[in-house]
């Protein structure tokens, strides 16, 4: 696959129609195209997988520009808007005409002395237009400081809460977007670590077999026997509390390590099976006869062959890592404040009574479901592209 010694016919402008013919009829002329090109073609033909891919790209852009997209800063607390509902939006302008510009009704907050609760009343007569590129709270977007926001309200004390507010009067929309930065990357980093551990240990156990393999198999069996969340919780509970020399960033990285403690076993098992089958293959025997060292055989002959499977296994592991982080943070053992993640936001939803009164605090869960769904579609598409005969 990576061997370029053989003269491969390069696609020339004249050959383009033939290539098109192949695209229409994928079974013919398979030998013309490299394995990776074949996979790319198969992948791009899979509509669901493409939805997953583009959906994820959009999500990453949205969460990393989140501070700019959301009208409020995510830590801004509005004591007048504790557990405030999503701002009501209308497309009917002040002159009674249906238009493209959305308006927000003005909302006033009154403290109900008897029940000791905030009561939010919507003033249907007062409409505030939503404007684009307004100046608001100063925020950090990636590496830039700005007070420009994609949309919001201008020249008013009224604030715009797309998803309502949480128990401290903070904008849920901003928190969901900013929290996504952690939730969508924790899986990627965890999987990256799993790939490192899993490929080293899996290859070693498959290649050298014998006692190394036995030990590795026992370790994998033991780790597989532990239920994930209790084991993760035990490891997360071992972390020191947040302080000046153990910041939320340290914790974030340790959480990815914790997630990959179980994650690598699946990859190691797959790779071991692959390497075991390559061990007796002719190309390995030929390399051995030519005097290649073990490391060379592994790195230049086996790993490139297994690369596609490593990628697929990794992609399929990302959703379960995202769900794992969500579960841990939901239990209060994962990402801790002041950092935000979707799981940490859902921690407020632990009590049914709270959810019953303020259903919008479940919105972060929809973000989790959407992301996991898109990643699953992507992973499934990758698997089908690499091996059309598997599940």
């Amino acid at each position: 696959m990576t061997d370029t010694a053989l003269p491969v016919p390069q696609p020339t402008p004249q050959a383009a129609p033939e290539r098109q013919a192949f695209l229409d009829e994928p079974v013919s002329e398979v030998g013309d195209l490299s394995q990776w090109t074949l996979m790319r073609i198969r992948f791009s033909k899979n509509k669901l997988a493409m939805i997953g891919l583009w959906g994820m790209i959009v999500i990453y852009i949205v969460v990393f520009l989140g501070a700019f997209i959301a009208p409020n800063e995510y830590t801004f607390q509005d004591a007048q808007y504790v557990f405030g509902p999503p701002s009501p939006i209308t497309f009917i302008g002040p002159n009674g005409q249906l238009g493209l510009r959305p308006y927000v009704y003005a909302t006033t907050t009154v403290l109900d002395q008897a029940k000791f609760m905030f009561v939010f009343t919507v003033d249907k007569t007062q409409k505030i237009p939503i404007q684009f590129f307004v100046h608001g709270d100063p925020v950090n977007v990636l590496w830039f400081k700005t007070n420009l926001h994609l949309f919001g309200l201008e020249n008013t004390k009224q604030r715009f809460y797309v998803f309502g507010a949480d128990g401290l009067g903070r904008d849920m929309f901003a928190r969901v977007l900013v929290g996504g930065q952690i939730s969508t990357t924790v899986g990627l980093l965890g999987v990256a670590l799993s790939i490192v551990f899993g490929s080293i240990l899996g290859t070693a156990s498959g290649y050298w077999a014998g006692i190394i393999d036995d030990i590795m198999q026992r370790i994998i069996e033991v780790l597989g026997a532990f239920p994930q969340v209790p084991l993760w919780a035990a490891l997360a509970a071992a972390m020191p509390p947040i302080s000046s020399n153990f910041t939320v960033v340290h914790r974030y990285f340790l959480i990815t390590v914790v997630l990959s403690v179980i994650g690598w076993t699946g990859l190691a098992r797959q790779l071991r099976a692959k390497v075991l089958s390559y061990r007796t293959a002719d190309f390995t025997q030929a390399a051995l006869a030519a005097g290649s060292s073990d490391i060379r055989i592994i790195l230049t002959h086996m790993v490139p062959n297994a690369a596609s499977h490593i990628i697929v296994t990794a992609a399929l592991a990302i959703p379960s890592m995202i769900l794992g982080e969500t579960a841990l943070s939901f239990l209060g053992l994962g990402i801790l404040p002041p950092a935000v993640s979707w799981g940490a936001l859902l921690k407020d939803a632990q009590q049914v009574s709270v959810v019953l009164d303020h259903p919008w605090i479940l919105i972060p869960a929809l973000a989790v479901v959407l992301t996991v769904l898109l990643f699953s579609l992507l992973g499934d598409g990758l698997r089908d592209a690499v091996d059309p005969y598997s599940i």
Binding site: E221, L333, V352, I391
Partner: protein, 329 residues
Amino acid sequence: MINYIFRRIGYMAVTLVIIVILSYLIIELPPGTYIESEIARLRQQGGNVGQDQINALTKRYGLDKPMYVRFGLWVGGMFHWPPDFGESFAYRLPVRGLIANRLGLTIAISTFSLLVSWGIAIPLGVYSATHRYTLPDYGITVLQFFGLSIPGFLLALVLMLFAQRVLGQQVGGLFSDQYTTAPWSLAKFGDLVQHLWIPIVVIAFGSTAWLSRVMRANLLDTLNMQYVQTARSKGLTENVVVWKHAVRNALHPLIMILGGSLPGLISGETIIALVMNIPTVGPMYFQAQLQKDEYLAITFLMFLAFLGVLGNLLADIALAWVDPRIRYE
């Protein structure tokens, strides 16, 4: 067959020993002890804790001894009859009595969820494989993807809201208030079912989605086999062909992952029990972990892993039983 089982049990013994050591180390190694959190708590309440009181507490819990001695004592206790797993610091009670009921309930709920998910997943998988690329098949596929993407606790919360708002049921816990101390009766049993249907549905949902996907793929593979064609050409009815020839062979990989799915079910059960306040392992375990109630946490973790190992063993034996090729390997 006997030979095979003995060999597997031999492997299992090694695994169990590693689990005991690992569970102990995971909980015990991190710094901080129960005493420290207890002292902090006492100080917070205004009381001043004297050094001799600290010493007394340390001695009482044996925390002055080095770790390997404590590990030896703890493991030694397990070999007594009845086994002794140490004492819970927070409850001041033997761990054995505390966990017995909860572990039983966790096993019961997980097993029941397992049966439910198998009972649904196999027919669902068979249907969607035999009706491939039809509307119901697409519907099932969509459901499967959602089943895999929804976190269990979210589904539990949504179902609890539904049960409370629409059905008007009391949710959370095992029994309604009036039945908690009542003797067993049909009404009490009905009340139990009303409380347990949500956790069972939630726990079973994810694994049903996954299992039915695996079943569909396996059956699609076996339906292409020549023996299926032979069966058809013999003039057997389609039902017999599918259920007797194809499904029986497609079940093997499913049995293989049966053992692996048990830890997942237990893991899901622990979170949902916490959300729904069901007196199983979950709430007590997470509590013990936060308080550094060591022996309680260690014993829970150890037994949960034992269950996983046991599930693997049972799955292997079941597989050897249905597939002679494995026994003689």
